[in-house]
Symmetry: C2
Subunit: 469 residues, 2 copies
Amino acid sequence: MRDYKILLNEVLERIKPSESERRILSNIIRKVMGRAERYLVKHNLDVDVKVEGSVAKDTWLSGDRDLDIFLRFPKSIGKNGLIKFGLEMAKFIAGENYVECYAEHPYIEAEIEGFKVDLVPCFKVNFPSEIASSVDRTPFHTEYVNLRLNGHLKNEVRLLKKFMKGIGVYGAEIKIRGFSGYLCELLTIFYKSFIDVLKGSLKWHPFSTIIDIEGYYAGFEDEALKMFNSPLIVVDPVDRKRNVAAALSLNNMCKFMSAAHIFLKNPSLEFFFPKPVQPLSRSEILEQIHERGSEFMFILTGCPKIHPDILWGQLYKSLEGIENLLRSFDFNIINSTVWSNEKDLVIFILELERLNLPTVKRHIGPPVYNLDDSERFLRKYLHSSKVLSGPSVKNDRWVVYVKRKHTSAIKLIRDDIFRARLGELVKSAFQERFEILVNEEIIDIYVKNPFFASFFTSHLHGRPGWLKL
Amino acid sequence: MRDYKILLNEVLERIKPSESERRILSNIIRKVMGRAERYLVKHNLDVDVKVEGSVAKDTWLSGDRDLDIFLRFPKSIGKNGLIKFGLEMAKFIAGENYVECYAEHPYIEAEIEGFKVDLVPCFKVNFPSEIASSVDRTPFHTEYVNLRLNGHLKNEVRLLKKFMKGIGVYGAEIKIRGFSGYLCELLTIFYKSFIDVLKGSLKWHPFSTIIDIEGYYAGFEDEALKMFNSPLIVVDPVDRKRNVAAALSLNNMCKFMSAAHIFLKNPSLEFFFPKPVQPLSRSEILEQIHERGSEFMFILTGCPKIHPDILWGQLYKSLEGIENLLRSFDFNIINSTVWSNEKDLVIFILELERLNLPTVKRHIGPPVYNLDDSERFLRKYLHSSKVLSGPSVKNDRWVVYVKRKHTSAIKLIRDDIFRARLGELVKSAFQERFEILVNEEIIDIYVKNPFFASFFTSHLHGRPGWLKL
């Protein structure tokens, strides 16, 4: 067996929070708690103010600047009371710089001394079964993890999180659809070390792996598989009906498995600290586009101003809709993705085998021995101006050669994009304006926008830096 | 129910042999028999000379100029004796104009007063079970048909044969792979009239229909289906192990079914007397090629000098081989066929979606959880100069974007045609010379060769003249 110790120690040296970092964080927490205390005294309220998230579990990484503070109100205050007093208290704590955000419930995202501090009002309940929304559940997660994650294991969680960040599968937000921090913690509790999580993942199989620490479904695995129906199922120890990995995509589950496989064969720092992508130069990118011989269609539009989770949900849905529209007219898509700066620009990228198809298209009809179907088919095509050849019989079926409705992918998108299944807000953006660029026509955008350039370069390159054998 | 009588009577008027035709044929038969008699007397041989084929069964069509004469030798003469004396006698009868042909056994094809007279030496056996080759069986077919086909039914056979000729499915030879004369006779015996054959065929289903006049497989239909495994099974009344429809292709079986279906809906003379194809003019054909927007590849080569059955067997096999080669490199074939004048020219016609493909090609690898396969895949592609992007993970699989080996169908055929599965003689023809023409480059050949022009016109047109609803 390989000894990864030296390498992992080197990683830990770089990702464990330093004493000075911890001190800075403690100061901020003290400040926030002080402000909370003052609010509570002033309003004579009984609210439990708690640090949550990776800070509460001591699984945060050096350099992280996130802090989650939960304001746990008694259930008796009611939903409206929670929103009113919760937000008021959160704003009081936040100070000057904050935005109001909406997940299941509203919360405040404040900026305090360089830290992003989420101030989340919720109900204080005694048992997970009494929760009213998912934020009420979070303190139980923290409690569970702190009970099971002793000193040494916290660093194993740090390694796992950093590994996942490095290979791009960390984060349960819609844009990523990866592994949440809590999921990393549970995996570490289950497998008992970072390396054993990697080794364990090599035995995973999409849609048939259940990790059930508390054994809620022991002997009923098949029922659990059917009930959750997810690529990976990790039963929540504090809520047996919940799959902690529900947000994880098949793609990211498998990306993690593949990276684990390669790391165990050929460990390197690159998994944890990937080199930033160097965008190809203007001439290099033009040469690559040319060399592939395929055709790129870039659809540019404005960016809806909404929470990133909603934005990316709509962008992915719309990308799928556009792909399906193109495929339904026989355009062969080699690869596709979508990029946005989350401000004012969205670019759908579609690499097609070709932008233009021949006019003629073979259409296979019913078997000749299905008499009713055959007559319907013949009545449709015998007098149709769309027909170029036939109908005739090929093997046991009718076949006819018709004119394609769309021979140009560009014209299809230009004329019929609203026939694609689009997210509502993306639809509105398209209605306002959209632009189609082809192949090297993207070059001005590429040169002007280094973030897009990095994204497109790594999309074209495809291979992750750590992929070495 | 529709009354087809007037129409069918009109057809019969035109296809029943006239008295003068019958007289001419009788004279020829008398002459042939006389020559045979002289030979037998001279050589003191005991040979049974019999008229066979459609003339013997009185199912021939007006205008036919074919006559089959069987020379039935005693089995005691042996195989070598049959070939020696059989051919000698046949040549004596043939006179000046004849060619020696080889099917299972050699025979003589003579030209006598405008008639093609096949003189076929065979053994005279008492029971079908004693036959040495298929020609020995023929007299039993004739006997069976003459026993079951009374006067009125002969004309029904004539209608069926003419119908099949008209729609292009008559003849068991390899070029056609259609219905033999004997098959038409058996169908008529079974269904009892031309119209009832058509109606009956609407209930046929490929690979699951058995017509078993003598009921040899009654109660054992499943075994018969498995044993014969043909689109249509018609058990030979004189040899239960033989499928009379063995040579019939699925395509022609279904062509017949479709024509039957349409005829019963909308009967017309055109089924029996199709209008000859008028080749499109030079400018029309160029316009059609252009309008389709697809790309035609014509592969021209010389024609092996062999019996048409062997030639067409090899041409069809080679066409399939060329198609498979093109498909294996992702070229999408819209339609294909092969033409030959059976003398000095063969033209393979392949209509492709496109002659050129983009350089980049997506290659899907193994699932990431198949560790050994994944390593093999990665070792193959991580250091390959063929790779343009990746490897990366897409859903649960590795994927890599590689350079295609062949982006040009023309270059593929030019460089690698001998990697296709070709008939041996076609391979030799290609080795001597072949030429690739693309799209309008065929026009000189088209203009010079009216037979090819008709063929290509009807190939492009596709729709049979009788197809009206």
